[in-house]
Subunit: 366 residues, 3 copies
């Protein structure tokens, strides 16, 4: 603990980052290369593809990937690029098929990416199917979430998440199933959403509904530096983060304290929010310095779907409203930061996690 | 007078400007820096914010400004950027409020821009509210029009407009009130609108309505070089520049000659058109080399609004049609000038004011 | 023949082109300069402007041209740029007028491009109308098609097309008349459409209708290298390339073999498809590395229009469906090729014409 405290950033000096980090196309390109092409990126949850042959498409750092479960039930990811003339082999956002066939000239691949059919190519001297498997991307699983990594030889996903080992076991995340997905197209730099998620200093003015059930100054952080940051906030007794204020489903597991909601940011593209009866997860997909696509999923325990009091919309609507309030603030910040008058401003003591996030980011941006 | 005549550009040599001035992003950036960030720019009229706390937002050269009247009735302009994390503090295009509060973390500023509230910042050692006033922009008033200047220490507005001192006093411009605003999004370089405004050689073919009440060859210019250019044209006896051809309001003041309409261009973003019964003013807001936003206001005497024959739409429709005819020609010019075949062409003797405008512009573009 | 065979590209080595040729703005700019500003470009057919004074506008490589027939019935092309201040002189996409008058200041040109009227310019010392003709572009005719060439002193059109002399005389192309034009806005590099047009390896999967009347493996190519490439494919006995499968018009000429459809690509912007009863022609107009405008015309014999069995929609619908199937594959290829995972892949023996097209293109791209 002593060592950790020594490394902690001096909070009284912390300031928001310079303008260039939010508007520069060069810095955006560097981030795509040094951060998004080297780290483990969230693309979904294993419950989206339960059977062999199930697949979905994911786009990270400009690359469209086919994420599928092969005949051996192993989850794999392939670049959506035919080895013949480069055509996208899959168009549907998700589905099921026993092989992967290119629509242009009917080259056909197995679920393991191996080329198994290529009409007329036997007429080409020296052509060998074994040379033309689909290009693959690294896949990792953590708590049932699917991550990809575009680097050639990345750190194993288990090592990367070692610090979080067992931390979330009560929530049974690998077992959960999605009830809803909402996509948001936000006109703001992706880092503004991380900073926004990492503090509740803004809650009194921005989130009147949230404010009623969870006090803005109740945050207790247990991860205060590095790629994983966050902790919990209190939920008022007997309340839940839903429109009605009541729990909307049976609990996801044996939750010790029902008066806590946990918020963690997972560098560089995941926000994980753990409630007693549901888990909400955000995927951040930067599109340009000034635009980010955000995919938000709500996951519940499989048994909850059968419960007579199951009312997921009660939570979804609550967070959809809250999300939109946040994105709006991020968009206003993007506009203001673009001004020549903007200068980094002082973080308050309530913004130590955004400051820690910035600190880690600046180390990685290189 | 002799010296002035000597400096006048030889009209027989005058030609339209080279293509690069109309299409180059580099020249556009230089203009934004050397012209629009150094000169006094029209943003509105004092009648838009009569009371303390009234405000409107204005965007010049990419900067969003809050233009407001403070407790001492002084008009001020602030960059719309919170000193905390850069968020836009004001969103509504106009309104009234006794303080300026950021919606994100509730930092609050007085109408003089001073930070008066910042929750929890007293917990930050060394934080002093006095260090975090809103950044201000210079404000100047001329004839009741509000101008801003983004330069650090600009020429006083009184000096800049000294040459026009008293010239327009008959029109009572500071007292006038707007009846209507129309915004135009024009796909043409801003300089084409200045050139278009500065000659009536185009009127016979482009403006059949205008041609009926004001002869195209009646121009008499009294400002023939420098940043302010123009003069008057004749109005046919008993006629007015309205759809009906009749005056649409009581006169704005003791106008000496009812058969004259005055047209002046005020470098770099104002066109001022003075009629016996109304004043029309255009604000030009360059958005890119090939796109300009134009805001047009029609101002009348406050007493006119009560007149039983008050019919401002009669003038507004007349000029809205005429404006659109002009913008269309400017757009056709933009398209043609973009061609590799375009070469500067000869100005006629009727285009001495566009030639003088180009001459002054080229000196400023640097 | 021996020499020709020696120069032929070794098919077993042929691969699709590297990514940069499909996505690089620099290469696109170079193509516009080295290919589209130097070659003869298809802009239409002489039947579009049968009378003196008829005109249409064409845009090639960013340049808008007025293509018109002068008083002597000669087809001419002028840059659509007034010599006064650069304004576009013609706005309508096509029409008829005995002179060319600029809408801005009424400068007027004859159909030969000579300035014949310029109000008030006689007041300008030294002004001579003879110095201000519209800038012209080179025009060439081949088989009744109108081509333009923006180079100063291009190879005569007759020389360029010498290799095709008389080859298509049976189709009476100069006499044909258009029945329909469809414009397609395709999100793909222009070269993908040439490659797509040049092989039927994709037909079984992509074109089920076409597949029924014309076997995909029946291609016999007679032009196998250089700027003109292609040959014929078989039509099943008694069939036609129409929705109904029946001929939709009387034949365009004395066609020797009714069971053949001829497909030729004419570098760099024309695709020519010759059927017994109609001719289809595509104009390709590259807009950016990733976008191409395609204009498709269907031409029939003038006598066919009077025939009681004349049903051009039967052919147009057939090809409109087939065109859209092709463009969709091109768009999927554009997306896939943009990936970092894309590498040039091996052409099959059925793709010798795409390989030859690429070979000629790479020589020209410089």
């Amino acid at each position: 603990m002593h060592r950790q405290a020594a490394k902690t950033i001096s909070k009284s000096d912390a300031r928001s980052m310079p303008r260039k980090y939010f508007v520069s196309p060069d810095i955006f390109a560097t981030e795509q290369k040094n951060i998004f092409s080297k780290n483990w990126l969230l693309v979904g949850h294993q419950s989206q593809i339960p059977r062999s042959g199930d697949f979905f498409l994911a786009t990270v750092t400009g690359e469209n990937l086919i994420v599928t479960r092969d005949q051996g039930s192993v989850i794999r990811a392939f670049f959506n690029v035919c080895r013949h003339r480069g055509t996208r082999v899959k168009e549907d956002a998700c589905g099921h098929s026993s092989t992967i066939q290119c629509p242009y000239h009917a080259w056909t691949y197995g679920l393991d990416g191996k080329l198994i059919g290529a009409p007329h190519m036997d007429e080409v001297p020296g052509f060998d199917k074994a040379d033309y498997s689909l290009h693959s991307a690294n896949v990792g699983l953590w708590e049932g979430f699917i991550f990809v990594n575009l680097e050639h030889n990345p750190e194993p996903v288990e090592n990367w998440f070692a610090a979080l080992n067992g931390k979330f076991s009560h929530w049974n995340i690998p077992k959960l199933r999605p009830a809803k997905r909402i996509e948001y197209d936000v006109r703001a730099n992706w880092k503004l959403m991380f900073e926004n998620y990492s503090e509740c200093y803004h809650c009194p003015g921005v989130h009147p509904q949230l404010q009623k059930v969870s006090p803005y100054d109740s945050a207790e952080n247990d991860l205060r530096e590095g790629p994983f940051l966050g902790g919990f906030m209190k939920i008022n007794p007997g309340k839940s983060l839903t429109m009605s204020g009541n729990a909307c489903a049976s609990f996801v597991g044996k939750i010790e304290n029902l008066q806590q909601v946990f918020y963690y940011s997972i560098f560089p593209n995941m926000l994980l929010s753990l409630h007693p009866e549901y888990v909400m997860v955000h995927q951040l997909l930067p599109q340009s310095p000034e635009r980010t696509l955000i995919i938000c999923d709500w996951l519940f325990h499989p048994d909850a779907f059968e419960g007579k009091d199951f009312n997921p919309e009660d939570a979804i609507e609550f967070w959809d409203i809250t999300n939109r309030q946040d994105w709006h603030m991020c968009e206003l910040s993007q506009e203001g930061i673009s001004s020549r008058a903007y200068k980094p401003g002082p973080y308050s003591a309530r913004e130590s996690i955004p400051a820690a996030w910035d600190h880690y980011y600046l180390q990685q941006a290189g």
